[in-house]
Protein backbone atom coordinates (compact mmCIF):
# COMPACT_ATOMS: atom_id res chain seq x y z
CA UNK A 1 0.00 0.00 0.00
CA UNK A 2 2.65 2.53 0.99
CA UNK A 3 4.89 1.58 -1.95
CA UNK A 4 2.07 2.24 -4.39
CA UNK A 5 1.42 5.68 -2.91
CA UNK A 6 5.08 6.63 -3.27
CA UNK A 7 5.04 5.57 -6.92
CA UNK A 8 1.98 7.75 -7.63
CA UNK A 9 3.54 10.75 -5.93
CA UNK A 10 6.47 10.40 -8.33
CA UNK A 11 4.32 10.05 -11.45
CA UNK A 12 2.75 13.51 -11.51
CA UNK A 13 5.96 15.58 -11.35
CA UNK A 14 7.55 13.24 -13.91
CA UNK A 15 4.69 13.85 -16.33
CA UNK A 16 4.84 17.60 -15.78
CA UNK A 17 8.61 17.56 -16.19
CA UNK A 18 8.15 15.65 -19.42
CA UNK A 19 5.76 18.36 -20.59
CA UNK A 20 8.24 21.10 -19.78
CA UNK A 21 11.12 19.34 -21.52
CA UNK A 22 8.88 18.67 -24.53
CA UNK A 23 7.98 22.34 -24.75
CA UNK A 24 11.61 23.35 -24.43
CA UNK A 25 12.66 21.01 -27.26
CA UNK A 26 9.84 22.30 -29.44
CA UNK A 27 10.79 25.89 -28.64
CA UNK A 28 14.42 25.25 -29.58
CA UNK A 29 13.35 23.72 -32.90
CA UNK A 30 11.10 26.67 -33.64
CA UNK A 31 13.94 29.05 -32.93
CA UNK A 32 16.11 27.19 -35.41
CA UNK A 33 13.43 27.41 -38.11
CA UNK A 34 12.90 31.08 -37.44
CA UNK A 35 16.60 31.78 -37.64
CA UNK A 36 16.76 30.04 -41.03
CA UNK A 37 13.85 32.14 -42.35
CA UNK A 38 15.41 35.31 -41.02
CA UNK A 39 18.69 34.44 -42.68
CA UNK A 40 16.87 33.91 -45.95
CA UNK A 41 15.07 37.28 -45.67
CA UNK A 42 18.34 38.97 -44.70
CA UNK A 43 20.18 37.54 -47.68
CA UNK A 44 17.41 38.69 -50.04
CA UNK A 45 17.63 42.21 -48.67
CA UNK A 46 21.42 42.21 -48.87
CA UNK A 47 21.22 41.06 -52.48
CA UNK A 48 18.68 43.78 -53.35
CA UNK A 49 20.88 46.44 -51.75
CA UNK A 50 24.05 45.39 -53.55
CA UNK A 51 22.21 45.15 -56.85
CA UNK A 52 20.83 48.63 -56.24
CA UNK A 53 24.31 50.01 -55.64
CA UNK A 54 25.69 48.22 -58.69
CA UNK A 55 22.88 49.50 -60.93
CA UNK A 56 23.32 53.08 -59.77
CA UNK A 57 27.06 52.80 -60.32
CA UNK A 58 26.39 51.60 -63.86
CA UNK A 59 23.89 54.36 -64.50
CA UNK A 60 26.43 56.98 -63.44
CA UNK A 61 29.01 55.50 -65.77
CA UNK A 62 26.59 55.23 -68.68
CA UNK A 63 25.40 58.81 -68.25
CA UNK A 64 28.99 59.97 -68.40
CA UNK A 65 29.52 57.83 -71.50
CA UNK A 66 26.60 59.29 -73.35
CA UNK A 67 27.90 62.80 -72.77
CA UNK A 68 31.20 62.01 -74.51
CA UNK A 69 30.18 59.62 -77.27
CA UNK A 70 29.97 60.85 -80.85
CA UNK A 71 28.63 57.63 -82.31
CA UNK A 72 24.86 57.27 -82.81
CA UNK A 73 24.99 53.49 -82.36
CA UNK A 74 26.83 53.83 -79.08
CA UNK A 75 24.36 56.44 -77.90
CA UNK A 76 21.42 54.17 -78.69
CA UNK A 77 22.95 51.22 -76.87
CA UNK A 78 23.89 53.38 -73.90
CA UNK A 79 20.40 54.83 -73.61
CA UNK A 80 18.91 51.34 -73.72
CA UNK A 81 21.28 50.20 -70.97
CA UNK A 82 20.43 53.21 -68.79
CA UNK A 83 16.72 52.56 -69.26
CA UNK A 84 17.07 48.92 -68.29
CA UNK A 85 19.26 49.70 -65.27
CA UNK A 86 16.88 52.36 -63.95
CA UNK A 87 13.98 49.93 -64.18
CA UNK A 88 16.01 47.34 -62.24
CA UNK A 89 17.07 49.91 -59.62
CA UNK A 90 13.45 50.88 -59.06
CA UNK A 91 12.57 47.22 -58.57
CA UNK A 92 15.44 46.85 -56.07
CA UNK A 93 14.16 49.77 -53.99
CA UNK A 94 10.75 48.13 -54.01
CA UNK A 95 12.27 44.95 -52.51
CA UNK A 96 13.89 46.67 -49.56
CA UNK A 97 12.01 47.38 -46.32
CA UNK A 98 12.02 51.11 -46.94
CA UNK A 99 8.27 51.57 -47.07
CA UNK A 100 8.30 54.17 -44.29
CA UNK A 101 11.41 56.04 -45.43
CA UNK A 102 10.50 59.05 -47.57
CA UNK A 103 12.48 58.69 -50.79
CA UNK A 104 10.41 60.95 -53.04
CA UNK A 105 13.28 62.92 -54.58
CA UNK A 106 15.43 59.85 -55.11
CA UNK A 107 12.56 58.08 -56.85
CA UNK A 108 11.92 61.25 -58.87
CA UNK A 109 15.52 61.20 -60.05
CA UNK A 110 15.10 57.60 -61.21
CA UNK A 111 11.83 58.44 -62.89
CA UNK A 112 13.33 61.46 -64.68
CA UNK A 113 16.22 59.35 -65.94
CA UNK A 114 13.78 56.68 -67.06
CA UNK A 115 11.56 59.12 -68.94
CA UNK A 116 14.37 61.07 -70.57
CA UNK A 117 16.35 58.04 -71.69
CA UNK A 118 13.34 56.30 -73.19
CA UNK A 119 12.30 59.52 -74.91
CA UNK A 120 15.77 60.07 -76.38
CA UNK A 121 15.80 56.42 -77.40
CA UNK A 122 12.57 56.80 -79.33
CA UNK A 123 13.95 59.94 -80.99
CA UNK A 124 17.15 58.16 -82.00
CA UNK A 125 15.11 55.29 -83.33
CA UNK A 126 13.09 57.70 -85.46
CA UNK A 127 16.30 58.92 -87.04
CA UNK A 128 16.39 62.33 -85.41
CA UNK A 129 20.08 62.71 -84.83
CA UNK A 130 22.02 64.34 -82.04
CA UNK A 131 21.25 65.56 -78.58
CA UNK A 132 20.01 69.12 -78.22
CA UNK A 133 21.70 71.65 -75.93
CA UNK A 134 18.86 71.20 -73.46
CA UNK A 135 19.17 67.43 -73.48
CA UNK A 136 22.90 67.64 -72.78
CA UNK A 137 22.30 70.00 -69.89
CA UNK A 138 19.65 67.70 -68.46
CA UNK A 139 21.87 64.65 -68.85
CA UNK A 140 24.66 66.48 -67.05
CA UNK A 141 22.30 67.28 -64.19
CA UNK A 142 21.18 63.69 -64.01
CA UNK A 143 24.81 62.57 -64.06
CA UNK A 144 25.64 64.73 -61.05
CA UNK A 145 22.73 63.39 -59.06
CA UNK A 146 23.50 59.83 -60.03
CA UNK A 147 27.09 60.26 -58.90
CA UNK A 148 25.92 61.67 -55.58
CA UNK A 149 23.57 58.75 -54.91
CA UNK A 150 26.21 56.19 -55.93
CA UNK A 151 28.77 57.71 -53.56
CA UNK A 152 26.38 57.71 -50.65
CA UNK A 153 25.19 54.20 -51.29
CA UNK A 154 28.80 52.98 -51.50
CA UNK A 155 29.55 54.61 -48.15
CA UNK A 156 26.47 52.99 -46.67
CA UNK A 157 27.49 49.64 -48.12
CA UNK A 158 30.87 49.93 -46.46
CA UNK A 159 29.21 50.73 -43.13
CA UNK A 160 26.89 47.76 -43.43
CA UNK A 161 29.87 45.46 -44.02
CA UNK A 162 32.10 46.97 -41.33
CA UNK A 163 29.50 47.06 -38.59
CA UNK A 164 27.65 43.92 -39.73
CA UNK A 165 24.36 45.78 -39.80
CA UNK A 166 21.25 43.80 -40.45
CA UNK A 167 18.35 44.57 -42.79
CA UNK A 168 15.94 42.41 -40.86
CA UNK A 169 16.55 44.72 -37.94
CA UNK A 170 15.37 47.56 -40.15
CA UNK A 171 12.28 45.53 -40.96
CA UNK A 172 11.48 44.86 -37.30
CA UNK A 173 12.05 48.48 -36.45
CA UNK A 174 9.67 49.48 -39.20
CA UNK A 175 6.88 47.41 -37.66
CA UNK A 176 7.42 48.91 -34.22
CA UNK A 177 7.14 52.62 -33.55
CA UNK A 178 9.49 54.74 -35.56
CA UNK A 179 11.42 55.88 -32.53
CA UNK A 180 13.72 52.95 -33.30
CA UNK A 181 13.70 53.91 -36.97
CA UNK A 182 15.36 57.22 -36.18
CA UNK A 183 18.43 55.58 -34.64
CA UNK A 184 18.96 53.04 -37.39
CA UNK A 185 22.16 53.45 -39.42
CA UNK A 186 20.76 51.97 -42.60
CA UNK A 187 17.69 54.20 -42.50
CA UNK A 188 19.93 57.18 -41.79
CA UNK A 189 22.01 56.26 -44.81
CA UNK A 190 18.99 56.37 -47.07
CA UNK A 191 17.69 59.53 -45.46
CA UNK A 192 21.03 61.13 -46.28
CA UNK A 193 20.71 60.07 -49.92
CA UNK A 194 17.25 61.62 -50.00
CA UNK A 195 18.43 64.80 -48.28
CA UNK A 196 21.15 65.29 -50.87
CA UNK A 197 18.56 64.81 -53.64
CA UNK A 198 16.31 67.41 -52.05
CA UNK A 199 19.22 69.83 -52.21
CA UNK A 200 19.21 69.77 -56.00
CA UNK A 201 16.88 72.13 -57.88
CA UNK A 202 13.81 70.71 -59.58
CA UNK A 203 14.70 69.31 -62.98
CA UNK A 204 12.81 70.53 -66.02
CA UNK A 205 13.04 67.84 -68.67
CA UNK A 206 12.05 70.19 -71.44
CA UNK A 207 9.13 71.22 -73.55
CA UNK A 208 8.56 67.75 -74.92
CA UNK A 209 7.17 66.67 -71.60
CA UNK A 210 3.95 68.40 -70.70
CA UNK A 211 2.63 66.99 -67.46
CA UNK A 212 -1.05 66.26 -67.91
CA UNK A 213 -1.94 68.30 -64.83
CA UNK A 214 -1.30 71.45 -66.80
CA UNK A 215 -4.18 70.64 -69.06
CA UNK A 216 -6.86 69.95 -66.48
CA UNK A 217 -9.62 72.34 -65.59
CA UNK A 218 -8.92 74.31 -62.48
CA UNK A 219 -10.63 72.32 -59.79
CA UNK A 220 -10.58 75.08 -57.23
CA UNK A 221 -12.81 77.97 -56.35
CA UNK A 222 -15.49 79.01 -53.96
CA UNK A 223 -17.62 76.15 -52.72
CA UNK A 224 -20.99 76.74 -54.25
CA UNK A 225 -23.52 74.22 -53.07
CA UNK A 226 -24.65 73.25 -49.61
CA UNK A 227 -24.79 69.71 -48.25
CA UNK A 228 -28.57 69.75 -48.38
CA UNK A 229 -28.70 70.83 -52.01
CA UNK A 230 -26.05 68.25 -52.82
CA UNK A 231 -28.06 65.51 -51.13
CA UNK A 232 -31.16 66.42 -53.08
CA UNK A 233 -29.28 66.52 -56.38
CA UNK A 234 -27.75 63.14 -55.76
CA UNK A 235 -31.13 61.52 -55.08
CA UNK A 236 -32.78 63.06 -58.10
CA UNK A 237 -29.88 62.04 -60.31
CA UNK A 238 -29.88 58.36 -59.41
CA UNK A 239 -33.34 57.38 -58.28
CA UNK A 240 -36.69 57.28 -60.10
CA UNK A 241 -38.36 57.83 -56.72
CA UNK A 242 -36.02 60.29 -55.00
CA UNK A 243 -38.46 61.34 -52.30
CA UNK A 244 -38.55 57.87 -50.79
CA UNK A 245 -34.80 57.75 -50.23
CA UNK A 246 -32.50 59.53 -47.86
CA UNK A 247 -28.95 60.64 -48.65
CA UNK A 248 -26.60 60.62 -45.67
CA UNK A 249 -23.27 62.47 -45.83
CA UNK A 250 -20.64 59.76 -45.57
CA UNK A 251 -17.36 61.56 -46.22
CA UNK A 252 -15.93 64.67 -47.79
CA UNK A 253 -13.30 64.27 -50.49
CA UNK A 254 -10.33 66.62 -50.53
CA UNK A 255 -8.39 64.98 -53.34
CA UNK A 256 -8.32 65.94 -57.01
CA UNK A 257 -11.88 67.26 -56.79
CA UNK A 258 -13.53 68.62 -53.63
CA UNK A 259 -16.62 66.46 -53.17
CA UNK A 260 -19.42 65.46 -50.85
CA UNK A 261 -19.77 61.68 -50.57
CA UNK A 262 -23.25 60.36 -49.87
CA UNK A 263 -24.51 56.97 -48.84
CA UNK A 264 -28.10 55.99 -49.62
CA UNK A 265 -29.42 52.97 -47.78
CA UNK A 266 -31.63 50.56 -49.75
CA UNK A 267 -35.38 50.50 -49.23
CA UNK A 268 -37.13 47.24 -48.42
CA UNK A 269 -37.22 45.63 -51.87
CA UNK A 270 -33.96 47.15 -53.03
CA UNK A 271 -30.37 45.93 -53.00
CA UNK A 272 -27.15 47.27 -51.56
CA UNK A 273 -26.30 50.81 -50.46
CA UNK A 274 -25.56 53.33 -53.19
CA UNK A 275 -22.53 55.59 -52.79
CA UNK A 276 -22.39 58.80 -54.81
CA UNK A 277 -19.77 61.55 -54.89
CA UNK A 278 -20.82 65.01 -56.03
CA UNK A 279 -18.62 68.00 -56.77
CA UNK A 280 -18.85 70.74 -54.17
CA UNK A 281 -18.23 73.37 -56.83
CA UNK A 282 -20.96 72.88 -59.37
CA UNK A 283 -23.02 69.91 -58.23
CA UNK A 284 -21.83 67.54 -60.96
CA UNK A 285 -22.01 63.86 -60.07
CA UNK A 286 -18.44 62.56 -60.22
CA UNK A 287 -18.95 58.86 -59.58
CA UNK A 288 -21.49 56.41 -58.21
CA UNK A 289 -21.41 52.80 -57.01
CA UNK A 290 -24.07 50.33 -56.00
CA UNK A 291 -22.77 47.60 -53.73
CA UNK A 292 -24.55 44.40 -54.57
CA UNK A 293 -23.51 40.90 -55.68
CA UNK A 294 -24.18 39.83 -59.26
CA UNK A 295 -24.48 36.08 -59.37
CA UNK A 296 -25.66 35.26 -62.91
CA UNK A 297 -25.46 36.63 -66.43
CA UNK A 298 -28.76 36.88 -68.28
CA UNK A 299 -27.80 39.61 -70.72
CA UNK A 300 -25.20 39.65 -73.43
CA UNK A 301 -22.34 42.13 -73.28
CA UNK A 302 -23.81 44.21 -76.11
CA UNK A 303 -27.19 44.43 -74.41
CA UNK A 304 -25.45 45.76 -71.35
CA UNK A 305 -23.76 48.33 -73.56
CA UNK A 306 -27.14 49.53 -74.77
CA UNK A 307 -28.29 49.94 -71.17
CA UNK A 308 -25.15 51.90 -70.42
CA UNK A 309 -25.68 54.16 -73.42
CA UNK A 310 -29.29 54.76 -72.39
CA UNK A 311 -28.17 55.71 -68.89
CA UNK A 312 -25.71 58.23 -70.29
CA UNK A 313 -28.33 59.79 -72.52
CA UNK A 314 -30.81 60.05 -69.67
CA UNK A 315 -28.23 61.93 -67.65
CA UNK A 316 -27.24 64.40 -70.37
CA UNK A 317 -24.09 62.68 -71.55
CA UNK A 318 -25.05 62.89 -75.20
CA UNK A 319 -23.19 61.63 -78.26
CA UNK A 320 -20.81 59.28 -76.47
CA UNK A 321 -19.13 56.38 -78.24
CA UNK A 322 -18.21 53.09 -76.59
CA UNK A 323 -14.50 52.43 -77.11
CA UNK A 324 -14.03 49.47 -74.80
CA UNK A 325 -16.37 46.83 -73.44
CA UNK A 326 -15.45 43.72 -71.56
CA UNK A 327 -17.11 41.29 -69.20
CA UNK A 328 -15.80 40.59 -65.73
CA UNK A 329 -17.62 37.89 -63.81
CA UNK A 330 -21.27 38.85 -64.37
CA UNK A 331 -20.58 42.52 -64.84
CA UNK A 332 -20.13 44.45 -68.07
CA UNK A 333 -17.57 47.26 -67.93
CA UNK A 334 -17.83 49.92 -70.63
CA UNK A 335 -15.65 52.90 -71.46
CA UNK A 336 -17.31 55.77 -73.33
CA UNK A 337 -15.74 58.88 -74.83
CA UNK A 338 -17.35 62.06 -76.19
CA UNK A 339 -16.82 63.47 -79.65
CA UNK A 340 -15.84 66.85 -80.97
CA UNK A 341 -17.04 66.73 -84.54
CA UNK A 342 -15.85 63.34 -85.71
CA UNK A 343 -12.87 63.20 -83.39
CA UNK A 344 -13.12 60.88 -80.38
CA UNK A 345 -11.78 62.52 -77.23
CA UNK A 346 -10.01 59.72 -75.36
CA UNK A 347 -8.85 61.73 -72.32
CA UNK A 348 -12.45 62.67 -71.44
CA UNK A 349 -13.62 59.19 -70.48
CA UNK A 350 -16.74 58.04 -68.69
CA UNK A 351 -16.94 54.45 -67.43
CA UNK A 352 -19.94 52.34 -66.55
CA UNK A 353 -20.49 49.03 -64.81
CA UNK A 354 -23.66 47.15 -65.72
CA UNK A 355 -25.00 44.14 -63.81
CA UNK A 356 -25.67 41.53 -66.46
CA UNK A 357 -28.40 39.81 -64.46
CA UNK A 358 -30.96 42.56 -64.93
CA UNK A 359 -29.18 45.35 -66.80
CA UNK A 360 -28.99 47.60 -63.76
CA UNK A 361 -26.28 50.25 -63.69
CA UNK A 362 -24.07 49.55 -60.69
CA UNK A 363 -21.13 51.82 -61.41
CA UNK A 364 -20.55 55.25 -62.96
CA UNK A 365 -17.16 56.97 -63.13
CA UNK A 366 -16.71 60.39 -64.74
CA UNK A 367 -13.63 61.82 -63.03
CA UNK A 368 -11.53 62.08 -66.24
CA UNK A 369 -14.45 63.67 -68.09
CA UNK A 370 -14.96 66.21 -65.32
CA UNK A 371 -11.29 67.05 -65.08
CA UNK A 372 -10.25 67.10 -68.73
CA UNK A 373 -13.28 67.86 -70.88
CA UNK A 374 -13.34 71.27 -72.56
CA UNK A 375 -13.84 72.71 -76.01
CA UNK A 376 -10.52 72.16 -77.75
CA UNK A 377 -8.91 73.63 -80.82
CA UNK A 378 -8.36 70.57 -82.92
CA UNK A 379 -6.27 71.13 -86.05
CA UNK A 380 -7.23 69.64 -89.40
CA UNK A 381 -5.43 66.36 -90.02
CA UNK A 382 -2.50 66.81 -92.38
CA UNK A 383 -2.56 63.18 -93.36
CA UNK A 384 -5.83 62.11 -94.89
CA UNK A 385 -7.45 58.75 -94.27
CA UNK A 386 -6.44 57.54 -97.74
CA UNK A 387 -2.78 58.50 -97.33
CA UNK A 388 -2.76 56.74 -93.99
CA UNK A 389 -2.54 53.34 -95.68
CA UNK A 390 1.10 53.91 -96.53
CA UNK A 391 1.90 54.12 -92.81
CA UNK A 392 0.08 50.98 -91.74
CA UNK A 393 1.93 47.68 -91.58
CA UNK A 394 0.99 45.07 -94.24
CA UNK A 395 0.61 42.44 -91.56
CA UNK A 396 -2.27 44.21 -89.84
CA UNK A 397 -5.77 43.26 -90.92
CA UNK A 398 -7.52 46.63 -90.62
CA UNK A 399 -11.06 46.77 -89.28
CA UNK A 400 -11.78 50.36 -88.27
CA UNK A 401 -10.16 53.73 -89.02
CA UNK A 402 -11.32 56.88 -87.25
CA UNK A 403 -9.89 60.16 -85.93
CA UNK A 404 -9.08 60.32 -82.21
CA UNK A 405 -7.48 62.72 -79.78
CA UNK A 406 -5.23 60.90 -77.32
CA UNK A 407 -2.61 61.64 -74.68
CA UNK A 408 0.73 60.32 -75.94
CA UNK A 409 3.45 58.54 -73.98
CA UNK A 410 4.98 61.86 -72.92
CA UNK A 411 1.74 63.32 -71.57
CA UNK A 412 0.88 65.56 -74.50
CA UNK A 413 -2.44 65.59 -76.32
CA UNK A 414 -2.18 64.69 -79.99
CA UNK A 415 -4.61 64.32 -82.87
CA UNK A 416 -4.28 60.84 -84.31
CA UNK A 417 -5.85 58.30 -86.63
CA UNK A 418 -7.04 55.33 -84.64
CA UNK A 419 -6.62 52.08 -86.56
CA UNK A 420 -8.19 48.97 -85.09
CA UNK A 421 -7.06 45.70 -86.55
CA UNK A 422 -5.92 42.21 -85.85
CA UNK A 423 -2.93 39.97 -86.45
CA UNK A 424 -3.57 36.26 -86.00
CA UNK A 425 -5.32 36.05 -82.65
CA UNK A 426 -4.03 39.39 -81.37
CA UNK A 427 -6.13 42.56 -81.56
CA UNK A 428 -4.63 46.05 -81.58
CA UNK A 429 -5.58 49.69 -81.55
CA UNK A 430 -2.78 51.73 -83.15
CA UNK A 431 -2.73 55.51 -83.05
CA UNK A 432 -0.92 57.33 -85.85
CA UNK A 433 -0.12 61.00 -85.41
CA UNK A 434 -2.30 62.87 -87.91
CA UNK A 435 0.46 65.34 -88.66
CA UNK A 436 3.54 63.17 -88.96
CA UNK A 437 2.22 59.64 -89.39
CA UNK A 438 4.36 58.43 -86.48
CA UNK A 439 2.82 55.74 -84.31
CA UNK A 440 2.06 57.53 -81.06
CA UNK A 441 0.80 54.47 -79.30
CA UNK A 442 0.00 50.80 -79.83
CA UNK A 443 -2.49 49.24 -77.47
CA UNK A 444 -2.91 45.49 -77.38
CA UNK A 445 -6.58 44.72 -76.76
CA UNK A 446 -6.58 40.95 -77.03
CA UNK A 447 -8.84 39.58 -74.27
CA UNK A 448 -6.60 38.17 -71.53
CA UNK A 449 -6.93 34.54 -70.43
CA UNK A 450 -9.14 33.77 -67.47
CA UNK A 451 -8.62 31.50 -64.51
CA UNK A 452 -11.00 30.69 -61.71
CA UNK A 453 -10.18 30.85 -58.04
CA UNK A 454 -12.06 30.00 -54.91
CA UNK A 455 -13.78 32.72 -53.02
CA UNK A 456 -15.04 32.83 -49.47
CA UNK A 457 -18.82 33.24 -49.17
Amino acid sequence: MKLRKKWLYLLVPVILLGGIIGTAVWGYQEMGTRQKLQNRAESQYQKAFYELTAHLDNITGQLAQILVTSSREQATLTLATIWRQVFAAQANIGSLPLALVPLAQTEKFLDNTNVLSSFLLSQTAQGEGGLSENNIKTLENLYQRSQDITNNLNKLGAKILNNELSWTQVETAAYASDRDLEDNTIIDGFKLVEKKMEGYPELNLGDDFAPVEQQTKKITGEEEISTQDAGGKVLRWWFKDPDKHRAVLNHEGGGDIPTYGFEIAPLEKETGPVYIDISKLDGTIIWAMKARPVDVSELELVEGEKKAQAFLENHDYLDFVAVKSHQEDNMGVYTFVPRQGEVLLYPDQVKLEVALDNGEIIGFEATPYYMFHRAREIPVAEISAENLNSFISQRLKVEVVRPALIVNTWGKEALTWEVRGSFDEEKFAIFYNAETGIEESIVRITPTPEFTFKVEG
Binding site: V12, G19, G94, S177, E456
Partner: protein
Amino acid sequence: MKRKTILLVVVLSLLMVVGIWEYFKDLNQEKSTPYGALEVATSKGQGTVSSNDVYVLSKIITGEARGESYLGQVAVGAVIVNRARNANFPNSVYGVVFEPGAFDAISDGQYYSAPTAASVRAARSAINGWDPTGGALYYWNPVTATSRWIWSRPIISRIGRHVFAR
Protein backbone atom coordinates in the same frame (compact mmCIF):
# COMPACT_ATOMS: atom_id res chain seq x y z
CA MET B 1 -10.30 9.38 -0.67
CA LYS B 2 -6.64 10.15 -1.16
CA ARG B 3 -6.31 7.59 -3.95
CA LYS B 4 -9.19 9.16 -5.84
CA THR B 5 -7.72 12.68 -5.60
CA ILE B 6 -4.33 11.43 -6.77
CA LEU B 7 -5.94 9.67 -9.73
CA LEU B 8 -7.81 12.89 -10.57
CA VAL B 9 -4.60 14.93 -10.45
CA VAL B 10 -2.81 12.40 -12.72
CA VAL B 11 -5.61 12.42 -15.29
CA LEU B 12 -5.82 16.21 -15.26
CA SER B 13 -2.08 16.65 -15.73
CA LEU B 14 -2.07 14.10 -18.56
CA LEU B 15 -4.86 16.01 -20.25
CA MET B 16 -2.94 19.24 -19.74
CA VAL B 17 0.20 17.87 -21.38
CA VAL B 18 -1.75 16.43 -24.30
CA GLY B 19 -3.66 19.68 -24.64
CA ILE B 20 -0.49 21.77 -24.75
CA TRP B 21 1.00 19.45 -27.35
CA GLU B 22 -2.10 19.63 -29.56
CA TYR B 23 -2.24 23.40 -29.25
CA PHE B 24 1.31 23.83 -30.42
CA LYS B 25 0.74 21.36 -33.24
CA ASP B 26 -2.27 23.38 -34.45
CA LEU B 27 -0.33 26.62 -34.19
CA ASN B 28 2.30 25.19 -36.52
CA GLN B 29 -0.26 24.08 -39.09
CA GLU B 30 -2.04 27.45 -39.14
CA LYS B 31 1.13 29.37 -39.94
CA SER B 32 2.14 27.23 -42.89
CA THR B 33 -0.99 27.17 -45.07
CA PRO B 34 0.07 25.42 -48.24
CA TYR B 35 -1.69 26.50 -51.41
CA GLY B 36 -3.66 23.25 -51.52
CA ALA B 37 -5.35 24.09 -48.23
CA LEU B 38 -7.41 26.70 -50.09
CA GLU B 39 -10.00 24.03 -50.78
CA VAL B 40 -10.62 23.80 -47.05
CA ALA B 41 -11.94 27.36 -46.91
CA THR B 42 -15.70 27.72 -47.27
CA SER B 43 -16.48 28.87 -50.75
CA LYS B 44 -20.07 29.55 -51.56
CA GLY B 45 -19.23 31.36 -54.75
CA GLN B 46 -16.61 31.23 -57.45
CA GLY B 47 -14.77 34.19 -58.85
CA THR B 48 -13.56 34.29 -62.45
CA VAL B 49 -10.71 36.63 -63.12
CA SER B 50 -8.97 37.64 -66.25
CA SER B 51 -5.67 38.59 -64.69
CA ASN B 52 -3.60 38.09 -61.57
CA ASP B 53 -4.04 41.71 -60.57
CA VAL B 54 -7.66 41.31 -59.52
CA TYR B 55 -6.79 38.20 -57.52
CA VAL B 56 -3.88 39.78 -55.66
CA LEU B 57 -5.80 42.99 -55.06
CA SER B 58 -8.85 41.17 -53.73
CA LYS B 59 -6.73 39.22 -51.25
CA ILE B 60 -5.05 42.33 -49.92
CA ILE B 61 -8.39 44.13 -49.69
CA THR B 62 -9.84 41.21 -47.72
CA GLY B 63 -6.88 41.31 -45.36
CA GLU B 64 -6.65 45.07 -44.93
CA ALA B 65 -10.28 46.22 -45.09
CA ARG B 66 -11.95 43.50 -43.08
CA GLY B 67 -15.24 44.80 -41.74
CA GLU B 68 -15.20 47.91 -43.90
CA SER B 69 -18.12 48.87 -46.11
CA TYR B 70 -17.91 48.19 -49.85
CA LEU B 71 -16.88 51.82 -50.28
CA GLY B 72 -14.02 51.36 -47.82
CA GLN B 73 -12.86 48.24 -49.67
CA VAL B 74 -12.83 49.97 -53.06
CA ALA B 75 -10.96 52.85 -51.41
CA VAL B 76 -8.18 50.55 -50.15
CA GLY B 77 -7.94 48.96 -53.59
CA ALA B 78 -7.79 52.38 -55.22
CA VAL B 79 -4.83 53.42 -53.05
CA ILE B 80 -2.90 50.37 -54.26
CA VAL B 81 -3.84 51.05 -57.88
CA ASN B 82 -2.83 54.71 -57.48
CA ARG B 83 0.53 53.63 -56.14
CA ALA B 84 1.12 51.25 -59.06
CA ARG B 85 0.49 54.16 -61.43
CA ASN B 86 2.73 56.57 -59.49
CA ALA B 87 6.41 56.90 -60.35
CA ASN B 88 7.49 56.80 -56.70
CA PHE B 89 6.20 53.29 -56.11
CA PRO B 90 6.66 49.87 -57.74
CA ASN B 91 5.06 49.63 -61.18
CA SER B 92 2.63 46.79 -60.65
CA VAL B 93 -0.06 45.72 -58.19
CA TYR B 94 2.21 42.82 -57.24
CA GLY B 95 5.14 45.12 -56.63
CA VAL B 96 3.13 47.53 -54.49
CA VAL B 97 1.48 44.81 -52.40
CA PHE B 98 4.69 42.88 -51.72
CA GLU B 99 6.88 45.87 -50.86
CA PRO B 100 8.35 44.78 -47.51
CA GLY B 101 6.61 46.40 -44.57
CA ALA B 102 4.04 48.23 -46.65
CA PHE B 103 0.94 46.25 -45.63
CA ASP B 104 0.10 44.62 -42.33
CA ALA B 105 -1.95 41.91 -44.00
CA ILE B 106 1.20 40.59 -45.71
CA SER B 107 3.35 40.72 -42.58
CA ASP B 108 0.89 38.87 -40.36
CA GLY B 109 -0.21 36.40 -43.02
CA GLN B 110 -3.85 37.44 -43.31
CA TYR B 111 -3.23 37.86 -47.01
CA TYR B 112 -2.89 34.10 -47.43
CA SER B 113 -6.55 33.27 -46.91
CA ALA B 114 -9.30 33.16 -49.53
CA PRO B 115 -10.69 36.53 -50.61
CA THR B 116 -14.33 37.46 -50.03
CA ALA B 117 -16.72 37.83 -52.97
CA ALA B 118 -17.27 41.50 -52.10
CA SER B 119 -13.55 42.20 -52.17
CA VAL B 120 -13.29 40.68 -55.65
CA ARG B 121 -15.94 43.10 -56.90
CA ALA B 122 -14.22 45.93 -55.06
CA ALA B 123 -10.89 44.96 -56.64
CA ARG B 124 -12.43 44.97 -60.11
CA SER B 125 -13.94 48.41 -59.56
CA ALA B 126 -10.66 49.78 -58.26
CA ILE B 127 -8.68 48.42 -61.21
CA ASN B 128 -11.29 49.74 -63.63
CA GLY B 129 -10.73 53.23 -62.28
CA TRP B 130 -13.23 53.85 -59.46
CA ASP B 131 -11.45 55.88 -56.79
CA PRO B 132 -13.45 57.04 -53.75
CA THR B 133 -10.32 58.62 -52.29
CA GLY B 134 -9.64 61.16 -55.04
CA GLY B 135 -6.04 60.13 -55.68
CA ALA B 136 -4.76 58.99 -52.28
CA LEU B 137 -1.44 57.13 -51.97
CA TYR B 138 -1.51 56.30 -48.26
CA TYR B 139 -4.09 55.12 -45.78
CA TRP B 140 -4.02 54.14 -42.15
CA ASN B 141 -6.24 53.54 -39.17
CA PRO B 142 -5.76 56.58 -36.92
CA VAL B 143 -6.57 54.52 -33.83
CA THR B 144 -3.99 51.80 -34.39
CA ALA B 145 -1.27 53.43 -36.52
CA THR B 146 2.15 53.44 -34.87
CA SER B 147 4.25 55.28 -37.44
CA ARG B 148 4.70 58.95 -36.66
CA TRP B 149 6.01 59.78 -40.14
CA ILE B 150 2.76 58.83 -41.82
CA TRP B 151 0.91 61.63 -40.05
CA SER B 152 2.97 64.19 -41.99
CA ARG B 153 1.10 63.25 -45.17
CA PRO B 154 -1.81 65.57 -46.08
CA ILE B 155 -5.10 63.84 -45.34
CA ILE B 156 -7.67 64.17 -48.10
CA SER B 157 -10.50 61.90 -47.02
CA ARG B 158 -11.87 59.68 -44.28
CA ILE B 159 -13.89 56.59 -45.09
CA GLY B 160 -14.94 54.11 -42.42
CA ARG B 161 -12.05 53.42 -40.09
CA HIS B 162 -9.32 54.66 -42.43
CA VAL B 163 -7.99 58.07 -43.28
CA PHE B 164 -6.55 58.59 -46.76
CA ALA B 165 -3.66 60.83 -47.67
CA ARG B 166 -1.44 61.90 -50.53
